[in-house]
Symmetry: C2
Subunit: 407 residues, 2 copies
């Protein structure tokens, strides 16, 4: 919610749902810029701030929003009551600034809903068992919304964002990118984690775990619009007619590392990745191909910011320990992934992908596949081209069936 | 607390107390302008806002302050922990926007103090028995401070304000006004309620009730200053050498109303003030003089904003009911009061006061007296002159004894 003007718009939208006979729980985020303003104040006073006190400060942004939204609702004749995370109460663990929700006491909310209220709950925040204020980390309001929907067994959890749904790929890179009317949870997860950053990934995981029907909508469309954004589903059979490929994800946050001349014997992968994990470096793609003469190469990707540290670690500790030939790496790479639940049952997706890239002269450096995803690592300068080539190749600009597009 | 700069100053001051071996609980107010900013946002969304939601919004100002002050303390090596009103917990009644403190659970605070922490508690806020967030009204941080001092049996409660103590009268009106080193609780109460608005009156009443030693200091003096402001005491014998008069209060917020030709019989005062009270109009001075021929005049003062309403009410309801002759009123008046505990035992204070005013040609319209106060109502145009005349007449610019002035 950006401004009083925006809060009034949200209130109008909620009022329409109430008029349609729905019981509504709303989880507003902080007003635009508010959380940053607060954290900047904190940083001015302490360069290494205590997470406990940061949470006390940051949680106020959403607290202001629930009060303001309740007032805006009451102003147009809608009964409303606000709750902080503390008041609900939303119990979390004690990991300040990135707490996880443990349980929700929905008694007050149910009572207020039964009394005809819209209930406005502060997102992003909770309390730990000792009564300390906690926050769930950036984007935590989405997680709060999904958790409440799960606790209340809501018909649907609508998440209003600055985009109007999930697209086949980023429209800034491929203008023909098309919005999906539905997408499965798994596909969404792959798309969200790989660059189509529509929703906080934890909220999507949460929705999957508790089978919450999630809908992504734009908070900027007209409040009277019947636009229904993208529905994220958890039942595959709903998507029988789904296209083979639902979208293309990409990211250039990674770097690739290869340990060359590794003896192909049990325990070697652990010898390489153990020290990496001990240093808290996260690894994404891991590839080890078949060996020749008992010697193989072992490759993986890490976040670009960890590249130098990982290289140093391998050079100093791993190389001598496993007697590898050498370590090579490249942080100028990008990963491009085809995502689609239909991929499981449709042969030839990968070869079609590789063929399209080859025709454009894009060299594939690494390949990894899962049931619903085929990823390639390419030189980062080819990333945009690869996205566009694959979008065209798989005809993602065209809806799979016309019926599917109308919600 | 005005800004990050000011918060750092407060932290330094607190650190000095800690270094001197004190256990310290700090109650910061919201940052300057913050509460107004929040209430303006609320007013933009709802012209008649729900008090419950106003409290949710307004309470965030102090919550931000406790987090920031804790961070500033930690930044200079002082262990600190913050608490919201909710967390302490400070239980209040459910009178939103003007709640009263019912009890304080000081267990967490005592434990943290014992652990060597400075405890930073959000002022102005609490929760009611149902778990709703409440606020104590403007200036409520003072009340929180005093209530905590009472609960913790603190040696002293220091209140930092934008003035550096309690003066004999407002220095803007009488430049010779002198700061008092000590003042009794009762005198303070009279001075605070009548215009020398140094502290919120409820905090002073609270201090009186629980015998909390209260000190008013300036938050703008150097943090290393040894200036001790004004100490408010509750034991009269400490003040044996106190001057007869400690100060002069004044206000021009009132209007006077007289019911003329009232039959002097039992129940008449109630017939007049009953309807006024029923209409929630507060009455200050009440005067009824002896009657002549069974007929008397009955006068009282009300807040100036209530003047017209009170006049109308008397004209419509009271005058016919009690068969009074007429109603007259004047909202261009001011009340000037001499305040001093010494007045009880020193005869001649009132006559000296009336003589001084007469010499300047100031007509006295009404007089009322209490044990420690003599008030006169005069034409408002004479208010400043009356204050200056009386300040000179009672030599308030001179300290009663030199020793008294040095804390």
């Amino acid at each position: 919610m950006g401004s009083p003007e925006r809060i009034r718009e949200v209130a109008k939208r909620v009022a329409r749902f109430v008029k349609d006979g729905h019981q509504v729980v709303v989880v507003p985020s902080a007003m635009a810029g508010e959380t940053n303003r607060l954290l900047k104040l904190a940083a001015e006073l302490n360069a290494d701030p205590s997470p406990r006190e940061l949470d006390v400060i940051a949680a106020t942004g959403e607290q202001v929003s629930i009060g303001l939204l309740s007032l805006a609702l009451q102003n147009i004749g809608v009964k409303a009551r606000s709750y902080t995370g503390f008041q609900v109460k939303i119990l979390t663990d004690d990991a300040h600034t990135k707490a996880r929700i443990l349980s929700i006491d929905d008694a007050n909310i149910r009572r207020d809903l039964a009394d005809g209220n819209v209930v406005v709950v502060a997102g992003f925040q909770g309390m730990d068992a000792a009564g300390n204020i906690t926050t769930l980390g950036r984007g935590g309001s989405d997680t709060t919304g999904v958790a409440l929907a799960a606790a209340l067994k809501a018909d649907e959890c609508q998440i209003y964002t600055d985009v109007d749904g999930v697209y086949t790929t980023d429209p800034r890179i491929e203008p023909a990118a098309r919005r999906l009317a539905t997408i499965t949870f798994e596909e969404m997860l792959e798309l969200a984690s790989q660059g189509s950053k529509v929703l906080q990934i934890r909220s999507v995981e949460f929705a999957g775990k508790y089978k919450v029907k999630l809908r992504v909508l734009s908070s900027f469309t007209d409040t009277d619009s019947t636009d229904m954004g993208t529905l994220i589903t958890f039942e595959e059979d709903e998507n029988m007619e789904q296209a083979i490929i639902s979208g293309i994800a990409f990211n250039r946050d990674e770097a690739k590392i290869t340990v060359l001349g590794v003896p192909d014997k049990p325990g070697v992968a652990f010898s390489i990745l153990g020290p990496i994990a001990d240093a808290n470096i996260e690894v994404d793609v891991i590839i080890q191909n078949v060996s020749h003469d008992g010697i193989t190469d072992f490759s993986f990707t890490v976040h670009r910011a960890e590249f130098k540290r990982a290289m140093q670690l391998l050079e100093d500790k791993v190389k001598p320990a496993i007697n590898a030939r050498s370590i090579s790496g490249d942080d100028r790479i990008a990963k491009v992934s085809l995502v689609g639940i239909g991929m499981r049952t449709h042969a030839g997706v990968a070869s079609k992908m590789f063929g399209a890239l080859a025709r454009e002269g894009i060299n594939i450096q690494m390949i990894s596949t899962s049931e619903i995803k085929t990823s390639v690592v390419v030189d980062e300068k080819y990333m945009e081209l690869a996205v566009r080539v694959l979008h065209r190749e798989f005809e993602l600009d065209k809806a799979p069936t016309e019926e599917k597009m109308k919600p």
